[in-house]
């Protein structure tokens, strides 16, 4: 009813051709946009974020990255290597054709044919074959046991099976093939420029509040802030920390803060021979002190996370005691806060045989994520209270990452984001022992290897039942954190900004800015 009223109102306005549609239009200034309108082209996060407005995924994620129904209303494993998805009824594409299981099958099969250099086959790697049972039932046969298949399908955008394999970037970018089931229809897009969208009135979900949405790509931080201040855009993402401070004292602008998936982790190298020597009075010590768990615990206890958050990051952070934010799949509620206890830290260090501390190099990224260099310095200060001499160095990514990949650092710190919202992503890459055959430990730069952890984690990756798997991942979290395989310090936060009291906006932990989840302020 309201929809029709609105429609006729819009039509009337269009006839008059003069009345501004300001209240109906949302313009967003974003740091990054899509590379293409073909939803099967690239894994880039900003690509998925933009195309979500036009295309729906089979499985969706909520604002803390936990799975929720998308085009599929439910999914369950029917045996070890088969997942069955029940599809949503009554969904239509923007051209009016109905959505069926054939379209999903086609989309899965289209990906390897058309995907670009940032290959989306990442999300279909477990798929062996796809069976259409009926219009609204789909079965996917997997290669081996694949509990993470629904997670992978959160990036499975569905296009109509009529699209054809030969249509690619060109047809999508022109709009000819840009037909999805999403809340908005595609109007136009310029690479590195504006993506213009219009509301799709027959959308299956909640009707978006905006008749028209313009997503402007403004990569430069200061320019984006300036665009908001000049009224060119209504909302911006990734507000730099320094501007955030200025905005705090500015009544015209409202800020929205959310935890991100990124956590600054200290990475103590635990190999037999540390890459950069650790010394006491200029003499290299025998063995690697960081191999001693008590030393790593001492380092952990000497970190005052509240100071990092309140003073060093000036409020834009949350203390981190695990490798992912609370609520993620595999986050353990049994790991408590890490109290700052310098006395106990000193005692542990003395017990480990270093009552007078030691001298160690500590290398961090510089300006890779907000606050990395200042946290780096602050940690060096905190450890100097423990009696250590810490040579902190913050280096640019161009220097840091290649050297880190060559495992040249004894102690390093960089940010890691659990982009999928579940533990397997992070643990498989960073904590599991390096194992090329299984494909685990590619980002394990510390040499940490705990058979107990590996076993629990691998068992998890082979468990289809979600709650059982969750328990195993939580156990894995507890083992890794008890060992201080890595020492998490702070969860970084991201900031959005809009003109005060104009928008009703709930920021998401995955940092996506979804126009259809934003409404005008009451």
């Amino acid at each position: 009813m309201t929809k029709h009223l609105l429609k006729s109102a819009v039509a009337a306005a269009a006839l008059l051709a003069a009345a501004p549609l300001a209240a109906q239009e949302l313009t967003i200034g974003l740091r990054a946009g899509p590379d293409s309108i073909d939803p099967h082209w690239s894994t880039l996060g900003s690509q998925a974020e933009a195309l979500r407005h036009v295309f729906d995924t089979l499985v969706d994620v909520d604002d803390t990255l936990q799975l929720k129904p998308g085009l599929a209303v439910s999914w369950e494993p029917i045996d070890d290597t088969t997942w069955e998805f029940k599809l949503r009824e009554g969904v239509t594409f923007h051209d009016g054709s109905p959505f069926t299981a054939e379209d999903v099958k086609f989309s899965i099969e289209r990906i390897p044919e058309v995907t670009g250099p940032m290959s989306m086959t990442l999300y279909t790697k477990y798929v062996d074959s796809v069976e259409v049972v009926d219009d609204l039932t789909l079965r996917v046969n997997t290669k081996g046991i694949a509990p993470a298949l629904p997670n992978d399908f959160t990036r499975l955008f569905v296009v109509p099976s009529e699209t054809g394999m030969e249509q690619g970037n060109e047809e999508f970018n022109s709009g000819e093939a840009a037909i999805g089931t999403g809340p908005f229809t595609f109007v136009s897009w310029e690479p590195k420029g504006d993506l213009v969208l219009e509301r799709y009135d027959d959308y299956w979900g909640e009707t978006p509040a905006w008749e028209r949405v313009v997503r402007k790509e403004i990569p430069d931080d200061a320019a984006r802030v300036a665009a908001l201040r000049s009224g060119e855009v209504d909302l911006i993402n990734y507000v730099p920390a320094s501007d955030y401070l200025a905005m705090q004292n500015d009544g015209d602008i409202e800020t929205f803060v959310s935890d991100s998936v990124y956590i600054l982790n200290v990475q103590p190298n635990v190999k037999d021979e540390e890459p950069q020597p650790i010394t006491v009075n200029g003499e290299e010590v025998d063995g690697n002190p960081l191999q001693d768990k008590r030393v790593r615990q001492a380092l952990d206890l000497a970190i005052n996370r509240d100071v990092l958050v309140d003073v060093v990051l000036e409020g834009l952070g949350t203390p981190a005691t695990q490798l992912m934010p609370e609520g993620f799949f595999g986050y353990s509620d049994d790991i408590g806060a890490r109290p700052y206890d310098i006395e106990q830290a000193k005692a542990l260090l003395a017990e480990a045989g270093y009552p007078d501390g030691f001298e160690v190099d500590f290398t961090c990224t510089n300006n890779r994520v907000p606050g990395d260099a200042v946290v780096c310095e602050a940690l060096a200060q905190m450890w100097s209270r423990l009696g250590l001499t810490v040579n902190a160095q913050a280096l640019n990514g161009t220097v840091f990452f290649p050297a880190a990949a060559r495992e040249e650092y004894t102690m390093a710190m960089s940010a890691w984001g659990t982009l999928t919202g579940e533990a397997a992503y992070t643990y498989g890459a960073m904590i599991h022992s390096k194992d090329d055959e299984l494909g685990f430990g590619n980002f394990n730069r510390t040499g940490y290897s705990n058979p107990e952890f590996d076993e629990v984690f691998q068992q998890g990756t082979q468990t289809l039942e979600a709650e059982e798997r969750r328990a195993l991942y939580e156990q894995a979290s507890e083992i890794a954190m008890e060992d201080r395989a890595l020492i998490p310090t702070v969860i970084l936060q991201t900031v959005w900004a809009a003109d005060a009291d104009t928008l009703d906006f709930a920021p998401r932990v995955d940092q996506e800015t979804r126009a259809y989840e934003i409404r005008p302020a009451e």
């Binding site: 990442l122 430069d220 300036a226 990452f401 982009l419």
Partner: protein, 324 residues
């Protein structure tokens, strides 16, 4: 003359080659660009695939020859970060930079030369001393610091000019440029002034030095004795004599103005090629680095060539021999 031109162009080609080799070797020496750019969640398989995709698994010489072969077909490569052809990327950013450089060169010339002439003509006047003091500030105080002060003053405290970015783009004689709009001018004036100060300072000093020297020559004394007015002397004789060093420096500094645009663009977040190259260096986006540097080399060679030609025109004693 033609032989000279050919030799200079051949030289330019050598320079371009040398430059690209330096960048290739340099980037190769730092490490694998993929390790800088890769999504932290990528599997080893994807990493390998990406490395192969960009040919980074090949030996250096082969990477370089692949690059040359592509260039021969007019393909400078694709930006690893933006995933669009580098040529498109650079040329989409170039107008903004040229616009900025153009305005700043105009400011430097139209203020710098008259000021320098005056300072040289009446070297002991208070105004001349003031001009000289300002010129010292202009070329010695780092660009980025003055830029910062400008932002603090005009954007933060007074709030009269925008603190950064490029304004609305209009059309002037069919060329899309932000100089066609008022908003565009409000954005360009501060960075252009910032960029021009160094050049202006240098221009003032050179003009003044030449003027002082020329006024002392016997030749000017004779001209004066013959009853020519100072105005006639300056415009018909002195200007011609002092033009040589000015043209040289003007030419050489035109290139460095382009280069220093890197700094000004960073301070004022001006979306030109300078900002692009800084970002590319910080992300090891090799195709963009190579293309930008090659472009700058070509521009420089052209500028130097023009300077040499003008030089020869102004001073018959200099023979064009193109370093052979």
């Amino acid at each position: 003359m033609l032989g000279y031109l050919i030799r200079r162009l051949a030289q330019a080609v050598v320079v371009v080659f040398a430059m690209s080799i330096i960048v290739f070797t340099g980037v190769y020496a730092i490490g694998n660009p993929i390790d800088v750019m890769i999504d932290p969640g990528a599997t080893a398989e994807i990493r390998e695939k990406l490395i192969a995709q960009y040919g980074l698994d090949q030996p250096l010489w082969r990477q370089y020859f692949t690059f040359l072969a592509n260039v021969a077909q007019g393909d400078m490569g694709t930006s690893m970060v933006y995933n669009i052809p580098v040529v498109d990327l650079v040329f989409s950013r170039l107008p903004a930079t040229l616009e900025l450089v153009f305005v700043s060169v105009c400011i430097a010339t139209f203020i710098g030369i008259p000021a320098g002439l005056y300072a040289g003509y009446r070297p002991d006047s208070v105004a001349a001393k003031l001009i000289m003091a300002l010129s010292v500030l202009g070329f010695s105080v780092p660009t980025f610091w003055i830029g910062m002060l400008l932002i603090m003053t005009f954007a933060v405290n007074l709030g009269v000019l925008p603190s950064g970015g490029r304004g609305d783009v209009g059309s002037l004689l069919g060329i899309p440029t932000s100089l066609a709009t008022l908003d565009g001018w409000s954005h360009v004036i501060m960075p252009a002034l910032n960029l021009s100060l160094f050049k202006m300072g240098l221009m003032i000093r050179l003009t003044r030095a030449g003027m002082v020297e020329a006024m002392r020559t016997d030749y000017v004394k004779f001209a004066r004795a013959q009853g020519l007015t100072d105005r006639e002397i300056i415009f018909s004789h002195v200007l011609r004599n002092i033009s040589i060093p000015i043209v040289t420096v003007f030419g050489l500094e035109l290139g460095s103005t382009l280069a220093f645009a890197v700094v000004t663009e960073s301070v004022f977040t001006w979306p030109g090629v300078g900002k692009l190259i800084i970002d590319s260096i910080l992300q090891l986006d090799r195709p963009v680095m190579v293309t930008y540097l090659v472009l700058v080399v070509i521009l420089f060679v052209l500028i130097n060539l023009t300077v040499d030609l003008v030089y020869a025109r102004l001073d018959p004693r200099v023979r064009l021999k193109g370093g052979s």
